[in-house]
Structure formats: C-alpha cells, structure tokens
C-alpha cells in the first residue's frame, strides 16, 4: 500500500468534513436537561411561596432558589462546552497523526524494504557469478588431472606413457649395443679361423716343399735307372711343377690370410671404439631421460596435489554456498512482513477520522478498535514466525529450512 493510497483516504475523510451541516432538527434549540437545576429551583421557589402563603420573604427565597438553579445550570453548560471542545481538539489531533505521521512512517518502511530488496537482488546476482566461476575453475582443474582421474586421462597418464616410451627407446639402444657386442664376439671367433687358415697355408707350403724334394729324389733315381728311368724322370718333372704350383698357391693363401687378419684386426678396433662410444651415449641418454622424467613427475605431482586441494576445498565451498543461498531467501520473508505491517497501518487513519466525525455529528465517542486491527493483521499472516510474534512471543528468530511434504 503506497502513500498515495493514504492521501486518497485522507482526502475522502476531508470531504466528509465539508458535507453540509446536519438537518437542523438534530440540534435541539431547547435542551430540557440543560435547565434541570433551574427547574428544580423554580419548583422550590414556587412551593416556598405557596407554602408560606405569598409572604414577602418567600418571594425573595423563591427568587434566590431560581437564581441558584440557573447559575448551576449555566456553570454545567459551560463545563460541558469546554469538555466537548477539548474532546474535539483531541480527536482532531489524533486524526492529524493518522493523516500526517502514519504516511511518513509507512513511506520509510517502504523505502527500506525496496532498498533491501534491490541490494539483496544485486548481491544474489554477484553470488551467481562467483558460483559460475568456481564451477569453471573446478572443471579446468579436473581436466588437468587430479589423483582421482581415470588412468587413461590427465597428466598422470601422459607421464606414465612418456616414461614407457622413453624407456622403450633406451631398451632398443641397449639391444643395438648387445647385438654389436655379439658382432664383436663373432669377429673375435674369426681370429681363431685366421690362425687355423695360417696353419693350413703353412702345411700346404710344407707339403709342396716335401713333394718337391720327393720329385728331386725321384729324378735322381730315374737318372740312375738310365733308359728305363726316362718315363719316370718325366713324371718326376711334372710332379716338381705341381709342387711348385702348390707352393705358389700356399704362398698366395698365406698372403691373403695376412690381409684378412689385418682387416679383421681393423674391424675389431673399430667395433670396440664404437662400443665404447655407444655405452657412453646410452649412459648419457639414460641420465637425460631420468632427469626429464623426474622434472615431469615433480610438476605432475605438484599439479595433482593442488588439484586435490582444490577438490577438497570445493566441497567445503559447496556447503558454504548452500548455506548462503538459504540466508539470501530471508529478504523475501522480511519484505512480506513489512508489507503486512504497512497494510495494517493504512487502516488506522480511517478509524481515527471516523472517530472524530462520529463525535462531531452524534456526540458519540467511539474508540479505535484495537482488537479489529489486530484481527485484520492476523488474517494477512502467511508465515509461522508472524504468528509466533503475534502471539506475544516477542520478536521471533529465523525459522530453520526443513519442511518438505510430498503429496
């Protein structure tokens, strides 16, 4: 109910004042009750005269009684008039409170209510913003990977994948190194074959030399045999040629073996150098990889920890948010109570005006009906604490948030 309603009501009350005066018959020109003492005095005077038989002293006495009666009556009338004036003044003043003061009180209450409503609405909006931002932060943190993430998502998984793949690279390097050392072993084994080959070449040379000697001996024998030994000495000659050829082959074999032995020795030296380099390189790789993984692990653990902290804190924050949302609802209740009070306050000026008008017209002093006002107020109640306050429990505290009924 706004102040305009108040003013409207007041102007109606004012209009009542300006209505034409009551029908003349209401105001009695001769009020018998106002002259009752005079009448008693007159009656007394008359009976005194009559009783005394018209004596002079009785006329004076009669006049005195009448005069006394009239004086008392006039005093009485004056008192009545002054009482009526005082009562009227009081009622006008009371009406003035209703017309001037109550609207101001009411407007103050409404101003407060409106300000509170708009402040709480703004606060609630800010709150909604905070809740949204918190949600987004939580989502982003979850993607980065808390410790409760599934194994195939998040930083932890990336870390274990990287670790696995890098170790696989190291493993293949080690395998390569292992096969190189196998190769070196094979090369070592070749050395043995070289020695055997050398030996065989020497045996071939030996056989050739022996064969040569045998052939020479055979030629000598053939010469001793004369003509019959001629065929034989030709054979011996051929054998000498063959043994010379095998001697050559043996020598060539020995030369080749020497070359192969050199080549193998070179290969061995090369392989050993390369193995040393590889070992150093693998050690270096391993150290590097460990360093990288350690650094990575450190970062992921820190991130995982902070994500866990955020998750824990957010549970606490959720509880706070829930509680705050309950408190923000009280603006609505307070608003309702204030509106009910204002509505009831609006009824008072009308009653005060009616009181004054009633007295001025009828001389009947009707008090303001407190009980009726309270009853009307009670009708507007919608909340338990309103009824509690009404019942004389003093100011009621806020109710708990609990009641849910399913139908």
């Amino acid at each position: 109910m706004s102040s305009t309603d108040f003013h409207a009501m007041n102007s109606v009350a004012d209009a009542n004042l300006r209505l034409p005066a009551q029908a003349p018959g209401r105001r009695r020109l001769f009020d018998l009750a106002a002259w009752q003492c005079s009448a008693v005095g007159a009656a007394g005077g008359i009976s005194t005269c009559a009783a005394s038989g018209g004596e002079l002293w009785s006329w004076f006495a009669a006049a005195g009684l009448l005069a006394a009666g009239v004086l008392v009556d006039r005093r009485h009338a004056a008192l009545k008039r002054s009482l009526k004036r005082a009562t009227t003044d009081y009622l006008v003043a009371a009406e003035g409170v209703g017309i001037d003061v109550l609207p101001v009180w009411s407007d103050h209450i409404e101003t407060s209510r409106v300000q509170m409503e708009s402040a709480i609405a703004s606060l609630t909006e800010r709150f909604a913003g905070i809740v949204n931002k918190l949600d987004q932060a939580m989502r982003a943190s979850n993607m980065a990977g808390s410790s409760t993430q599934a194994e195939d998502q998040g930083l932890k998984a990336v870390f274990s994948n990287s670790s696995r793949e890098l170790n696989a690279v190291l493993d293949s390097l080690r395998e390569a190194m292992a096969s190189n050392s196998l190769m070196r072993e094979e090369v070592q084994n070749l050395h043995r074959f070289i020695d055997e080959l050398r030996q065989m070449a020497a045996e071939v040379a030996n056989i050739a030399a022996q064969t040569n000697l045998l052939a020479i001996n055979a030629a000598i024998e053939a010469a001793h045999a004369g003509e019959t030994g001629r065929g034989f000495s030709v054979l011996a000659q051929e054998v000498r040629k063959l043994s010379a050829m095998s001697g050559e082959t043996g020598k060539r074999m020995a030369d080749k073996v020497a070359l192969v032995a050199d080549a193998i020795a070179n290969a061995r030296r090369s392989a050993e150098a390369s193995a040393t380099r590889e070992a150093a390189s693998i050690t270096g790789c391993q150290a590097s990889i460990s360093g990288v993984l350690d650094g990575f692990r450190g970062v992921t653990e820190a991130l995982s920890e902070s994500a866990d902290v955020l998750k824990r804190e957010s549970l606490g924050i959720q509880a706070e948010v829930g509680e705050a949302l309950v408190q923000l609802q009280f603006q609505d209740r307070v608003s309702q109570v204030m509106t009910h009070v204002r509505q009831n306050m609006a009824k008072l000026p009308e009653q005060l005006s009616q009181s004054r008008i009633g007295y001025e017209r009828n001389g009947v002093l009707a008090p303001v009906d407190a009980r009726a006002l309270l009853a009307e107020l009670e009708q507007t109640y919608a909340m338990a604490e309103e009824r509690q306050t009404h019942g004389g429990g003093g100011a009621a505290g806020a109710p708990k948030a609990e009641e849910i009924t399913f139908f």
């Binding site: 409503e117 709480i120 609405a121 609630t124 909006e125 709150f127 909604a128 809740v131 949600d135 948010v321 829930g322 949302l325 309950v326 408190q327 923000l328 609802q329 009280f330 603006q331 609505d332 209740r333 608003s335 309702q336 919608a382 909340m383 338990a384 806020a398 109710p399 948030a401 609990e402 009641e403 849910i404 009924t405 399913f406 139908f407």
Partner: protein
C-alpha cells in the same frame, strides 16, 4: 538437451536463488513473476517441472495449479509449491489442486534439488 523448469514467484531474489541452485545442476530455468505471467510463459514452451509460490498478485499459486491442470499439454507436468506458508489448510488446498510437493521457504538448495530430481519428468 537440458530439461526446463519454470519458477514462479513475485520475489526477484527467490527466483534468483532458485535459478542458481537449478542451473548449477544443469537445468534450464524460465522465470515467471506471478500466475498470469507463468501461463503466458508456458505457451509453446516445453517444461519438465513447475515450481510456484503461493501468495502472489494477479493470480496466486493454488489458482495457477488448477489452471495448469486444465491445460492438456501440461496436465502431467509435476508442480512443486515453494512458499512461506506452513498452515495445514493451505497445504490441503495445494494437494487438492494437484500439486505434487510442498516445500517451505527458506529451502536448502540440495534438498530442493533432490525434490526436483525425484519429480521431474523424464
């Protein structure tokens, strides 16, 4: 597709608080300021649940429930009363009109959410 919920209350702060609670849970929220406004907002809009105050200007909550039950498209839409009223008489009226639940303000967000999740249309 997010489910829609219509909240009807003449208090902006109540609508806001309900909005925060429901949007956090992934629902889409439509607002009405009183019964009449709610009926306008319902036209041509699919809602899966209605939450309504009781004491409102223009058309109060109980009348709104009755009106919604008359609309064939929303006959089976569950309606939850959210109000400061706790009197048994009002509750009976709500139940008779067809409301599915009566929640007294102020509400705890997780409790309102559990009522919504229990009753919302699939």
């Amino acid at each position: 597709m997010a489910k829609s919920i219509l909240i009807v209350d003449d208090s902006a702060s109540v609508r806001q608080v309900v909005g925060i609670s429901l949007r956090q849970a992934g629902y889409e929220v439509i607002e009405g300021v009183d019964g009449k406004d709610a009926l306008t907002k319902l036209k041509g809009q699919k809602v899966h649940l209605i939450i309504s105050d009781v004491n409102m200007p223009n058309m109060d909550g109980i009348s709104l429930v009755k009106a919604v039950k008359e609309m064939p498209a929303y006959k089976f839409t569950p309606i939850v009363m959210l109000t400061t009223e706790s009197q048994e008489e009002k509750k009976r009226q709500g139940q008779a009109a067809g409301a599915k639940a009566w929640v007294v303000k102020p509400f705890k967000p997780d409790q309102l959410l559990s009522v919504v999740q229990k009753l919302v249309l699939p």
